[in-house]
Amino acid sequence: MLESQSNNRNSKHSPTLNRREFLKTMTAPMLLAGAATLGCRKPEEVRYPFVEKPANFVHGEPEYYATSMPRPEGAVPLLVKVYEGMPNKLNPNPNHPQGVNGLDHYTQASILDLYDPTRAKDYKKDDAPVAAENAIAYLTQIAAEKKIIGGKGLCFLLDSSPSPTRNRIISDLKAVFPNATWLINDPLNFQTAAKASKMMFGRALTPYYHIDKSKTILSLDGDILGGEPDFYRHINAFSKARSPDNGGAMCRLYVCESALSLTGVNADHRLTITSRDISYIAARVLLALNDCLKAPEAMTPLMKALTRYAETHFVLNAHSITSDADADYIDHWINVCTDDLISNISRSLVVTGYKQPVMVHGIVAAINLLLDNTNVTVDYNDILESVRSPLHQLNNLVNSGDVDTLIVSGGHSNPVFSHPDDDLWKRLRQANVNVLRLGYYEDETFDITNWHYPAAHYLESWGDAFSSDGNITPLQPMVQPLFNGMSESVFLSRLAGTRNVSDYDIVKNSFSEYVHGGSIESAWRGFLKKGWLNISHRRSTDLNLYTDDLIQLINRESATHTTATGCELVIKRSFHTDDGRSRNNLWLSELSEPITKLTWRNAYILGVGQADALGLKNGDIVEVEAGDLKVQGPVLIEPNTSPSTICVACGHGCVSNNTMIKNDAINPYPLKPNYEENVCNNVTMRKLSGRINLPLTQEYFDYNDNEPDPFVDLSKLRISAIHKDDERICHNNTNAESPQWGMVVDLNRCVGCSSCMIACRNENNIPIVGADEVRKGRVMDWMRVHRYVITRRQKSKANDTVVNIMLPVMCQHCENAPCEYVCPVNATVHDKEGLNVMVYNKCIGARYCANNCPYEARRFNFYNYHEYYYNKSLYKKPVMNEWNMQESKRALNNADVTLRKRGIMEKCTYCIQRISDYSIKDRISDSSSKSQNNKVTTACQDACPANAISFGNISDNNDEVAILKQDKRNINILDCVNTQPRTSYLIKVLNHNDKISNLSNV
């Protein structure tokens, strides 16, 4: 020891720092520190009151306005919280007749796009900013030039939109420019269903599902709870239909799919099969139904065609019907499922999705018709959109030289990215086509744009939109355009030749068409206040079936069908970026995808068999070859993927101005076989050297074997109590004077959509940490949705039960809180309302509490995520990322929640700011005006489309939560450690069909 010390001292590199040296060296810093503290008096703060305060405005109190988010499939009705003039949080509009008290994650996170500092901010001509007036004058000029020749050479490329106003402007434009061409950008083929109904019923209609009325649901590769249009509404209906309490009327969900989706996770029976074989299953189901039910005469030719198709397909693919199961099992599965569908005739539902071709959609429409489901569990609504020519027709136009001016409208549509036909865009440039674009970002399409117009966010513009149930909802601006953006209605109206028109007038004009009798002004005010107007339903009931086109399609398929070899590549909608439109939304980027728990990027998702064959592990780089294109990327193994399927999410790998988004993700759009297909056949995959560390938030999916099962079969539920209560001593006060808060999460309702996580971030100012920090396990979410695969061994392996559980975990507010005992400074303590509170200003960052928390509910601030001004002063470190500190983004911070600094522990507070607000308002209001409905809701509860989260006072026996806690399904997680959590869970109820005994495919 001594020797080594002396060696050290003498060695050349040793730091010769003794106490004296240390003191000498430290003199200067200490003096500086002393001088600095002298200047550390309180900073001066300035307050700016109004010059003229608006009537009824109260400083410090949020206001709520009704509006809606226009999505291609329909508007999502919203109630926006506006704090001191800035939109702060999106809530569902509880008064909308659609009755969905929740939002999906895309909508919930869309408010962040408003404050995105990387938005397009300038009017530009050929990359150089121009004055807005000049750019707008140019629109008028184009309109005048083109009007003379009736719009010849003019081509409009639009994004799908549910706005009646836009539709009205389009008809105006069509009148002015009769020779113009109209195309629509629909990169994920959500319009396949409309094409199929055009084929089957002679009219373009969109199916509208009533899942809550269905008892048996069969999904043929349709991710109705995750990726399909309107999925948040389906989640709501599904959770209602899954209620085990309404006398055994619980619905049963069968799913056939290639890669595990949220629908698959929530299925009672799941069949893993490649996407290309789904058409075979669909044909078999229709044929089996035909055997049992008397199909109308008109369907006979269809059945013949289908029989031939099923045979061809089976013969060709007998060896390669690529599923985990064998052919016998598939037969058995189809029969059992069909029996179930028949026994619930007119209360069943068969759905498919955007990944499937028109043919499958056609067969599914026929199945629903045969099962008498049409107009009961599935309605067909008229489509507003009159433009339906797909984008790839632009090719012909460019070739024939019929286009000289291309108008790209819609804000979020990015055709160069989603239709990466380099040749087309190159020829477009060569042909000197003048491109005018209304765009939200300066992205790939910006590169081919001559005149760029920055688009306004939907929270900055007036508008209107149909919700998918056929009601009309308003879009109201919550704030003046932050970056001088322009709304689409003004952009298009200018092109129609209208001058000096505001979007307010345009929208009000189209609204007046819906008012019959009475004052328009009062109807308009009522419309804005309520947030919706009921107008005549768009439902089409008189449907005549035409099978000729479908038969032709099936026959063609049978004739040209060849043996599919190799893998298929399935391109799906991204959980993070949608089709690429939410590319810069960092809340979505960092949200862990519910199935794979991947954040920030995408990966090739493979089954175990395929991975083993190539010796692949998570993160290994592979090269996927489709056609003549090769795209490299990492793999991620998900055992429930079909052995011949590679699944990849689109919308990644794009150019971004945001430094936090790396350009290294896979962009699968170039791999699409053609514009109208999402499945690519005959794909080969090759392992490359190299490996990347994927930013996953949860790695191990197994559930603790010592825990009680978090699920039960429906049949078992009716018999007896599930888990018997141990008698435990609860030492905490259940003082009746103050409310005792508690939460119940119903695992049977939760589908795992993760919308709650976004709501929590928004409400509680939770920072984004970036992919590198996620890899280190430093993600800051106060709540996360865990996915567990639970295997319960039975006597024979074939009867093993495999269940997927989505488990939302937040701070459990334990009454015996392990974190409290270990805090050296009492920074985490209990309050009289039973909350485990975290006092940030006392916290010294010892992190003992996080180590002692069995639920991993605590998050530590490793960096100053919020302190934007550090980067402006001399003290530049340690700031994590610039994005969190952007000035514009700070307007989104919730003023009622502290911004945590570096070195501080934080966790779920049960939204204590809302509790506090509630108790103050409750005290002040006299008992006569106290509304019965007035209660505290947490942010996650507000956001949940499935109504899985309940929050309330457990000491009040009439409270919903107190009642739920008495339910026999109620359990605590990690009950064995006796933490006595205030959050409990209602276990999942499975509705298995006894005839399919082998559940290993679930």
Partner: protein, 213 residues
């Protein structure tokens, strides 16, 4: 040699002890002084507004200007139009009010400097205090006598807790909350406070979560 060394040693000792004592004195002087808590803080405002005239002499109610004090956590500053209600007619020429007239003319807000500024991790709510019978005077002092508004109480956590742990001696009848001059002798007040606490059901708890979240 030894004597020299010891001389050095004593010199060092004296300097070190001196430094330590000086640091101690400075520390006490700095951190225990009332200025550290902001007592006496009276920044120069853009307009030399005197509460002494408006509240003391003219007897304006607090809520004439601070309209939201009983509706929200925040006791707002008046908008320029509120000032103009009177100053349209009164002193329309005075240069001291130039900032106000400019504000209305140019539609620009007046940059008032905040006097009572709590740390950002403290969530103080005016609404509940005003409704519970805590007078403005308790925290803001005799504003009606202030020519330039200043902070008179420390507004430290100990200051808050003194009342939260013993609210009875700080309460007053709700009708007198905005009354600057209301007073009562200590014993009678304590008795009244106890009665009010019971009547109004006032729970002034000392949970961390009451102010910190």
């Amino acid at each position: 040699m030894p004597s020299e060394k010891s001389g050095n040693f004593y010199l060092n000792l004296i300097i070190s002890v001196g430094l330590i004592v000086a640091c101690g004195v400075w520390f006490v002087w700095y951190y225990v002084a009332p200025e550290y808590y902001g007592v006496g803080y009276a920044p120069v405002q853009p307009i030399p507004f005197a509460h002494a005239i408006h509240v003391g002499a003219l007897k304006l109610d607090c809520r004439y200007c601070h309209t939201d004090v009983d509706k929200s956590w925040y006791a707002n500053l008046p908008d320029s139009k509120t000032c103009m209600n009177c100053h349209q007619e009164l002193l329309p020429e005075t240069p001291r009010l130039k900032v106000l007239f400019d504000s209305v003319k140019k539609n620009e807000p007046i940059p008032w400097i905040k006097v009572h500024d709590l740390p950002d991790y403290v969530y103080f709510n005016h609404e509940i205090h005003v409704h519970s019978g805590v007078g403005c005077v308790e925290c803001h002092g005799r504003v009606d006598k202030m020519v330039r508004t200043q902070q008179v109480k420390s507004l430290s956590m100990a200051f808050c807790l003194a009342c939260h742990r013993n609210p009875a001696s700080y309460l007053r009848p709700p009708a007198k909350v905005y009354d600057m001059t209301w007073s009562m002798d200590d014993e009678a007040r304590l008795e009244l406070g106890r009665k009010l606490q019971e009547e109004l059901n006032i729970v002034a708890s000392d949970d961390c979560s009451d102010c910190h979240r």
